[in-house]
Every structure is written in C-alpha cells, then in structure tokens.
Subunit: 720 residues, 2 copies
C-alpha cells in the first residue's frame, strides 16, 4: 500500500478516456453499468468498450482488444475476471495506461493462494510502469462533477445522482452505496461515491486525500475496515482542517467479533480499537458508530457557518417532549442554555401565562389556537447569546394546526440567524412539510439530539485539532526501525535504576534513589538521600515481580538498611537472578496514584497511556490514550476524561494534586517515545505518585516504579 | 392519588352511556371529536351530547343539561373549562355518574392557586359519591374494542384505528399519540390509547393495571412522568408477569434537566433516577430511553412464543454489514452464536467456496447470481441450537436482485421456526417488500440490533422477575410510618457500638469489639478479644467524622491501649461531645473494601446500596441499588454489575473473596429495612471488609464502621 499527498490521482477523477474491458451491452451488468452511467452523467471524454464478440455496445463502437483502440486510454475498467483480468492489467501497464479500476473479485479477499498470487502479478506490472490500481474487488469510483462514473453501484439507478458537496469514500461497496442512497433520499447532492475494495495499491485514504482537496467538497464521509495507510489519512485530516471540511469516519471492527469478521473478509490487521479512537479524535475526525450515524448530521454540516457552542434550547408544544428532549440532551452531554432575564421577559410577553419561560420552553397546547407561537419564540431564543442551537419538538400537529405557518416560521428563523435548528416530528405527514423547506427533521427527540450533538461536538473536536495542526502536532512523521521491524525487533529490558534515571533525563520526575552494590555503601547513600527511613529494592532487569521474591521493603529505618541490603543481595544470588545492585529510595506517598505507560503500536507507532494507577490497572482500567506528539492541554483533556478526575481536585478535605505536572510528564514521555535515538518500545510507570499542588515537593509528581524496554541493539546507555 | 387492583374501572372502558358536556357540532373540536370517534368506532352505548345552544349535534339529539338526560350517564366527558367544569363535575357526582374524563386544562398543571383549588373541589365532590376522575388536562381514554373512544387525540384521524393487542397508557397526551401513531404506521393494531393528564384521582398506573388484565392485550407501553402510584404499578407488573405480557415503560425525567422540566409542567416529585431503574428492573419492566425505543421492538413482542436465549446469528451479502452488525451486537451485549460443526458443514455445502461459514455468515455478492442463498442459509442457522435470533442485512439489492424471493424465504423461515428474524435494509423500496410480508425491518444494523437486543434481554429480565413473583419478592407491602411521615420524621443516630451490635442482630457480620468506659477495663477487653493490637475509636453518636478529631487509632499495641483510651475520653470531653465510651475492636484487613448502605426513599421505601467501598464512594461511585425484599441471586447479580467485580474473583495472585457472604449481608440488611419495628432510616457501612472465600474467617466479611439512623421515638434499644 502506498501513501501520498492526494495530488497524483487526477486521472481517476477526470480521465480523458476510459476503456471498459469486459464491456456489456446490458446496462444492468457490471461491464455495462459504467458505460451507461458515464453517458447519463455527461462524461465528455472518450469511452472505449472492449469486447471481442460485438461490433457495438450501448450505441458505441466496440473494440476487440486494448491494442485496437485509436489511443491509449487514460484509465481502464477491468470487468473481466481471474487470469484474464491479470493479463489485461499487464497489457494496460505495457501500453501506458495511467490507472485501472479492477472490479473483478476472486483475488486477495478470498484468502486463497491463487488470488494472492494474481494480486502480486498485478502489482508487479503496475510498479514497472507507474500505473495505479484501484481494487481489485472494487465497486468503482464515481465523480458526478465530471461524469466519470467508473462504478457499477446499482444505487445510482435506484437514487439518481445529483452533484453536490459531499464525498463518500469507502473500502466497501455496500458502505459506499448505503450512505450515497441515504444522502440522496434526503435530497443531498453527492459528488464522489468511491468504493475501493482490496486496496492493494491506491488506498481509500489516498483517494480521500485527493477528493477532500476539491474546493466544492464540504463534507467527507469515510468507511474504513483498516487504517493501514496512516500517512494518507493524516494528509486527509490536514487538508480537511485547513479547508474547514468536516470528516466523519465509520471504522468497522470496533469489537472483537467485528474485527474477526473484518479479518475474514478483508484480511484487515486487528488493531486495538481505542488507538483508532485516539488517532481519529486527535485529527478532528468524528467517529460514527453506525451506518445511520455516518450520514445523520450531514445536513447540518452543509449549513453555512460553524456553531458557536454546544448549548441547546428546547421548544415544544408538549411538556412530555420538553422532558424527553432534556433527558436526551443530558445523555449526549449537551448543556441546556441558561436563558437571560431579557429572554425570559420576552418569552413571558410572547406566551400564555401558564407556559414555561424556562429552557425547555413549553408553549403548551395554546399552539392550537395561536399558530404564531413558534414564530414569536424562536427569534427571542436566537437573540440570546447563550443559545447555540435549538430543538423544536412537535409531537402532534394534524388537522387544526397551521403546520405550514410553523414551517415557514422555522425556515425564516434558520436563514435569519446562525443558530442551527433541528426538529423532532414523529408524524410523517407533518415532517414532510418541514423537510420541503429544507429544515432538518428527525422522527424522535433522541435521534434529533444525537445528530445535533455530533454536529456541535464535532466542531469542538475540529477546533482542538486545528490548534494541533497549527502547532505542528499533526505533521507527518518519518517511520523508524521500530515500526519497520515490527514484533521481530530485539528488546532490552532496563533495570529499575536505569529506567528511573532514563526517565529523569527525558523529563519525567522520578523518585530520588541511590544504587548500592554493597552494604558498606548504605551510610553514604542514606546521607545523600537525607532521610531516616527508605524504600529498599533489589535491582535486576531479570526480575519483574520483585515483591513476590521479597525484593521490596518499604519504610526501612536507617539502622536496619544495611542488613536489608545484605539480605537482598543474598536473595538474588539464591534465586539465580543477576544482581545489578540494590536501590535505596526516598519514600514518597502520593495523594493519589496515577500511571503512565507507553508502547509502540505496529500501525500507529508510539502510544502513551495515562490513567489511574495501582494493581488493578488491567482488571479495572481507567485510562486514556494519547498519540504523541501532544500538548499539555491534550494531556489535561485526557486526565479530565478519567473517572479518577472526580477526586483529583480534592474531595473530603484532601488537597488538589498538580495536574499540570502529570500532564507535563505525559508530554515528556510522548516526546521520548518519538525519539528514534532513544529507541523506547515500552514504558510502564505505575504507580506515579500524584502530589499536592501547593505542597513542599516540586515537581509535585514522582514515578516510584519503572519498567523501560528499548529496542536492541541500543546505543550505549549513559545510565547505570 | 389512589391505587387499586385495576378491577374497578370497567365503566371507563365499556360504559353503557356517555354524556359529553360541552359537546360540539364540529367533529374537529375537543367537544366534537369523542362523539365522532365513538360513532366511527362502533360504540353501541348511548351518547348524550350536552350543549344548551343546540337541539342536535352531529346528528344526535342534544340536551341542555345533565338534568335533562333520559338516564344518568355512566361516564361523562368534561369538555368545558374552569369553574363551569367544576360545577358540572359536582353535578355528575350528585347524580351518580360513575366516572368523569376531564379534558379541560387550566388546573393543577398551571401551578396557580385557583387551578389547585378547583382540583380540590372536584376531588371532594367525587369522594362524596365514589365517582372516579380521569384528568383534568386529560386527552382522554380510548378503547377500540368497545368503541368507547373518550378522547380528542387528533392522531385517530391521521392514523385510523384498528383494534389489536397493544395497550398504550400515558400521563401525557403527546406520549399517547406518538406511540399510537408509530404503531399504526407499522401496521400494528392498538386496543387502548389512554392519556390521563394530571392524575388527581385515577392514575395512569391504575388504568394500566386494568388494561393489562385484558386477555387480548399482549404488550403494554407506558409513559410516566412520576411513579407516585407505586401500588398500582406493582399490580401492573404482577398481572403482566402472570399473564406473560411484556411491559415497556418510558419514564420522563431521567436527567436533572429533564426532572426540572417535568416538575415545571406536572409537579412530579424529583426521584433519584437510579431507584426508578431498580424498581422497573426488579418488576421485569423494560425501561425505554426514548420515544422510538418505546415502540421499536413492538413487532417482536407480538410474535408467538418467547426467545430461548440472546445469541445472535448474522447473515448478509455484504462483508461490511457483517462487520458492523457484529460491532453493534457487541455494543448491545448480545453474544454471537458459536456455530456447530454440523452447521458449518451445511453452510459450506450451501455457499460459494469463498463465502464465510463462520458467524457472521457473509453470503457475498454471489447473492446476485444465486437468489436461493438466504433460503438455504437461514434454515441451517435455525436448526443450530446455539442460534437464538437472526439478523439479515441487505444493504444493496435493487435491479438484478430477486428481492421477492429473499422476502418469501425469510417469511417462510419465520413461520417455520421459533427463531426471530430482524432485517437491516436501508433502501426504502427494498424494505417495503419485506415489510409487506410482516417481517421486522430497520434501516440500519445498529437500530435492528438495538431493538432485537431489547426483545431478547427483556425476556431474560422477565424470567428473573417471574422468579421473584413466585418467591413473593414482588408481593404488595404495607406502608409504615416511615413513608407516611416523610422527611418530617424525627431521627435518632445510634453510636458506632450500638450500630455494630444492631447489625449483628439482624444478620450483618460486624467486627468484634468491646466498649469500655474507663481505661481500667482495657485489659479485660483485650483478653476478651484475644488480640495484641487493636483499633481504638471514640464512641459518640454526636460525632460523624471521628478521624478528624483524632478519635480513630489503628494498630495500637496492647501496652499502649489504656493510654489511648484515656486520651480519647479526654478528647471527647475537650470537644464537648457526649462520650458513650471507647471502642476496642479487632483489626480486620479485607482483600477488598466494599460498602453496604440503605435509606428510605419517600416514594419507593427502603433502598439498599451495594458497591465499592472507601472514601471516594460519592466522587467515583461504583454502586448498584436493590429494592428489598430481594434474594441472594439478586444481590449477586448487583455485585456482578459493579466495576469492582472484575477483581473480586482474584487477580494477580489474590484470592477470590466470598461473594455469597456479601450478598447474604445485603439480603439481611434489606430485610431489616423492611421491618417497621426496627424503624431503620439510614444505614452506612463503609468499608465492609471482603475476606477470602476459603480463609480462616467465617463469615468471610466484616462491617468495620457503621452509622445507623432510626426513626424516633424508637422502641428501647437492647444494645448498649
């Protein structure tokens, strides 16, 4: 798979000429549909049907073979199968075709040897000439701006295309067609509908990087089953953030069962899903959780402007809908806008005396006799600076209600203000009246709030990612041997003393300690530490669970220290583990125990883990992931998302701990993980003692236990 | 509000005669619609329109007043407002009308004094004659079996009624009409559509208890904004469980914002939402979280039979849909069915070689050329004992696909097996073909799995509740003075020694201790305890935070104990708190720290809290609620739902703790809370030391700290 900046695939989107190898006279067949679609969509380039058995196909002259064409086509669609497909691809490469869209299936996705061998042949041929390949097993690419519809999706006949501001790029044919169909059903134009298939050369992400640069594209929807082409996905995000184009991604395989299913049909590498979340979130890409999620907020994204915040105002003629919408907002984490005194006074003037002028605003059944109520209430809410979005719920409005008036009032409000409106209208007949005016309508309050919440919170995510883009945190990073070598890389575990000193060097405060190799050094060590009670630990890179061997003693009085050191040296000798000395360390008791960890993901590279510490990190995890480089703000954001965050500010008389110190340590660890010279593979600091913000210790944090693993051979360690 | 067994409201459902006070000639007006609906729905009783200005209304003779009627009507609809409504209700009571449906609004729901006074007048009149009242502010009641449609819902014209097996009972008009409309839109018949309003006499729950006893009712949907009439709701649950009728409830006001909104429009009492959850769950009532949730699984519930388990098989012609459906199943907690070797072999025979014969089953695009694939695969899955339900996802199937064949295959499978099927079909045109055959279809895989999960998991909940019904855990309970007196009840806090001894008496193991009042008693106390180190605590019912006053010392050596006791007595004297002695207690260190608590909810009565112990119970809660009486199994279920559960079985070499002991202590505490003679109001046991299952201590659990508050005046305490 190859990454790219997305600038070299123009010919797939606007080819001067297209050959269809395996062209069919039947416009419903795979080899027939692209021809039909291109002609219906106004494609102005040359179309060359290739089929040795027919003189004419769909009214166009047909050719017996590639070699009979009047010119070398810029792109070829491969709608023949197996060995024939491979032979045609080889010939395309020889002739100088720029790109092939390989619709044939029966290759790598079947998992059989023949299919994989054929894929290698295709790749070899393409590599020799610089030709690019889409697929195989691709439903094809569609650009409705140029009419280059190199696709056999049946949905283009079910839901006729209309050029628009949305691009859909998917590794799956179905997951290209479904969003396309749902968008078109909602009356939303779609420019690109790409389904790439096996991604043996051009990846979905590489194509996405190209389409997101199209100035007419205002929203990019992605369906991915792997995130192998990280460089292209990073490029997608950077272009999207620069251009202000929101990106929504549905990544199949969130669960273990889903990953197994994905592996069985695409061979996608299993990745820890939380890392995918961290990557997408860091890059401002909203992660949809279902097909419907992928498109639910599309209409909002296409509005002009961006939302100014996340505070919601709710209006309904039903008290129950007010209650349920408020519940839904709480569930989605959207705060209700506190209305100003001026707004409440204006609402009091506008509404019957028994209506509620708090948020939610219940205009009551008085709507039946006063059809102007929405038209009066919405502008009042729109003028309140605290209101960032409005939900209007109309559960019942049949005969007797002036629905046309409600719709024109809402539509007028929408164009006169920057405040987005979403409606919850269960009655199909009533909903239709609002939809016809371009208003976003959902059938129930929970769906409406869910979609609106995505839109509002995504813009917060985008703003945070935009700051990362500006500060260089999203810059492309060179890979180093730790990624390339993968799990085969030789590893060197540092002992605890080495680990602690390495941490200090890179900026993670570690507990003060002295390594002694003989009891005679204890007195000097204690003097250096300036303490009268110490922690004593046997130090050996060969022992991971020191406590179980009796190699950890806490609170040892100065007088007993030498004896304990003697005993530990003896224990290590008896257990047959290499003694690398005995650690005498200051005792540090944290107000709380945190942890910091880091590892090297084969796909995503360095990953930092921050969370609650202690012995139950695995069994009761309370952790967040961060992908370096990241800022102190990013780390503080991760800390705030921990359950532990509820107590870090100080509860029950306890002092608050120094969160900045913890965040800074995480940033330092992230930077260290990025440094190829350090060659870090794994870091496990648990516990990290979190100390009071204004206490005597600076920095108010200490790693007291450390395991560091580096790639070997590593440069000589300056740490003893 | 009054409870009831639901047997005394027949006249509202099948009245011999109905007077409509404020009858209108306009069949779209509130006073006109019930007349129109009753006549359209085949109501065979007498209808008496009352309107002094007209001789005839909608073709029926009209009467000037109640007193002019040829007979006393069994039920009267009150469609006049304010003082007139009150006067008519008073006259109804005098004449011997059995029940009024009060549609007029402007009463208690406005919160103004006049409205509340009018409501009291209505209630007083009704109480004098035994007349029952629905409302005021009620949209009315509808029984489509008898044609007694005493309702003005506009939805009955938008979506014409059809009698069926579903009953909808709601406190809100909108939340009666919305589910009614959605069910009818899905082609599902509705027998009852009741909207009660202010519930000043008959409550929604009391009505529900009556309708759920109707032998034709197979599903009850409830919308509630308060759960004040707990007795009726309990009766609903018992009847429903006995009859095998699933009950789904949407309770508005889950969130604080929602509760505030509910209070503003109905005056509903704010209740801790987790207690509502516990009550509904205990009674086998599924709690919907949105309007759509309330009706989403209705079609499943109306199937014959009950599901045999929760294991899902997924079939699709798209690998991506297989992946996404597996993700959705994981998110909803539905396990995928492991297919037997026989099933896999049969699938291998039925499917192309490159298709997946694991679950999910990807029949691949081969479906385009072999329309029999679903018909071959489904029966194979249905025969596998591990498959409890099937999801069929068809993302793309337009021209070229034999959708009629797929639909007939699925429909045939549905009737020939007990395995429920749900479909995920985004294309409206394709979905229609399946819906026409009565198959349950959703637009996307997440919605389909969500609804199916509700259906399957609700049956597990029902089975658990059914066991509670059989063992008497759901029996109606008499209220005692603790509920009646509410927050005004005088309270007596026990001191720690009294608290611990009380716990021992009721069956909660507490730490062994001796209470001394003078240092001279220490030696004997230590001998009695048989220990050489003790915990020493000052004992005073006036001190809640002993540690802060230095009144807790842990690990005191025997030799120092007398001095510490002396010091604590002095401290209590100095702090001016009543000394009730000094506790010397055995030291107990738990493998883990749990907590048990109990309190008296003004609505729900006794509530037991079980969870992780420690000082952060409030800030980082990990608790579950249980409503007594409950069984050891119920308590174990609650423990298994704790995050802490992940470590209780023993991790990192730690022994498992005795969960049965903890569960039994919870059961004992629950029983104690139910005992009016004990008069317990609050119990807080934190921490509870959880001890190893096979360790030396029996029972393997000790409460080491206890605060008990009883209602005062209480019977003399036998505990010192």
């Amino acid at each position: 798979m190859s990454g790219g900046t997305g600038s070299g695939l123009r010919f797939f989107h606007d080819p001067a000429s297209v050959a269809v190898i395996g062209a069919s006279s039947d416009p419903e067949k795979i080899g027939g549909r692209p021809i039909r679609y291109m002609r219906e969509s106004g494609y102005t380039g040359a179309i060359y049907p290739i089929n040795p058995t027919r003189p004419e196909i769909q009214g166009l002259p047909a050719y017996a073979s590639l070699d009979d064409l009047p010119q070398v086509p810029e792109v070829a669609i491969i709608a023949v199968s197996g060995a024939t497909a491979v032979a045609q691809i080889v010939r395309c490469a020889e002739l100088g075709v720029k790109g092939c869209v390989i619709m044939a299936s029966g290759f790598g996705e079947t998992g059989d040897e023949q299919g994989l061998a054929w894929q290698r042949e295709m790749l070899d041929a393409a590599a020799r000439s610089g030709m690019r390949l889409i697929g195989p097993n691709s439903q094809g690419l569609a650009n409705f701006a140029t009419g280059a519809v190199l696709s056999f999706s049946t949905l283009f006949t079910e839901q006729p295309p209309a050029d628009g501001a949305v691009a859909v790029v998917s590794q799956s044919g179905a997951m290209c067609s479904i969003p396309y169909g749902l968008l078109r059903e909602a009356g939303i134009g779609v420019r690109y509908a790409h389904a790439t298939g096996n991604d043996i050369d051009v990846t979905a992400a590489e194509l996405a990087a190209e389409v997101v640069a199209d100035p007419e594209v205002k929203l990019l929807l992605l369906y991915l089953e792997d995130i192998a082409d990280l460089d292209s996905l990073g490029a997608v995000a950077r272009t999207a953030l620069s251009r202000g184009v929101p990106v929504v991604a549905l990544k199949g395989g969130r669960s273990e069962a889903g990953q197994r299913a994905a592996a069985s049909h695409t061979g996608a590498l299993a990745t820890e899903d939380a890392v995918v979340d961290a990557f997408l979130s860091k890059h401002g890409i909203w992660r949809a959780r279902s097909t419907r999620d992928l498109v639910a907020a599309a209409a909002f994204y296409l509005r002009p402007g961006v939302p100014r915040g996340e505070r919601l105002a709710i209006v309904s003629n039903s008290g129950a809908v007010c209650v349920l919408a408020a519940d839904a907002a709480a569930e989605e984490g959207l705060p209700l806008a506190p209305l100003s005194a001026g707004t409440r006074a204006a609402l009091t003037d506008a509404l019957p005396s028994f209506a509620s002028v708090e948020n939610p605003v219940d205009v009551t059944a008085a709507l039946l006799t006063d059809s102007s109520l929405f038209g009066k209430v919405l502008p009042v809410l729109g003028r309140d600076a605290a209101v960032d979005a409005c939900l209007v719920g109309i559960p019942v409005a049949g005969r007797g209600y002036d629905v046309e008036r409600f719709a024109s009032d809402v539509a007028e409000f929408e164009v006169s203000t920057a405040v987005p409106v979403v409606m919850a209208v269960p009655q199909t007949s009533v909903a239709r009246v609002f939809r016809e005016r371009g208003i976003v309508v959902f059938a129930d309050e929970a769906e409406a709030v869910h979609a609106l919440a995505q839109y509002l919170r995504h813009h917060t995510l985008i703003a945070e990612a935009r700051a990362r883009l500006d500060s260089g945190c999203l810059d492309p990073r060179p890979r180093d041997r730790r990624s390339e070598a993968g799990p085969g890389l030789a590893r060197t575990a540092l002992n605890e003393s080495q680990s602690l000193r390495l941490l200090e060097t890179v900026g993670v405060p570690a507990v003060e300690h002295v390594l002694v190799s003989h009891p005679s050094e204890v007195t000097a060590a204690l003097a250096a530490l300036g303490v009268d009670r110490v922690v004593i630990k046997g130090c050996s890179s060969e022992v991971t669970h020191k406590s179980e061997l009796g190699l950890v003693r806490v609170g040892v009085p100065a007088d007993d220290a030498a004896a304990v050191v003697t005993e530990m040296i003896a224990t290590m000798a008896r257990e047959g583990v290499a003694s690398e000395g005995v650690i005498l360390a200051r005792m540090v008791k944290g107000e709380h125990e945190g942890m910091l960890g880091a590892r090297f993901d084969p796909v995503f590279g360095p990953v930092v883990v921050i969370g609650a510490g202690g012995i139950h990190v695995e069994a009761m995890p309370d952790v967040q992931l961060l992908l370096p480089p990241f800022s102190r703000e990013d780390a503080l954001g991760a800390i705030r998302r921990l359950r532990l965050a509820a107590v870090l500010g100080g509860v029950r008389g306890a002092p608050p701990v120094d969160l900045d110190a913890w965040a800074d340590a995480a940033v330092a660890l992230g930077a260290a993980m990025l440094d190829p010279a350090l060659g870090l593979l794994e870091v496990d600091l648990n516990p990290i003692m979190l100390l009071p913000l204004n206490g005597p210790e600076h920095p108010a944090l200490r790693a007291v236990d450390a395991v560091v693993v580096r790639a070997a051979p590593a440069p000589d360690l300056p740490y003893r």
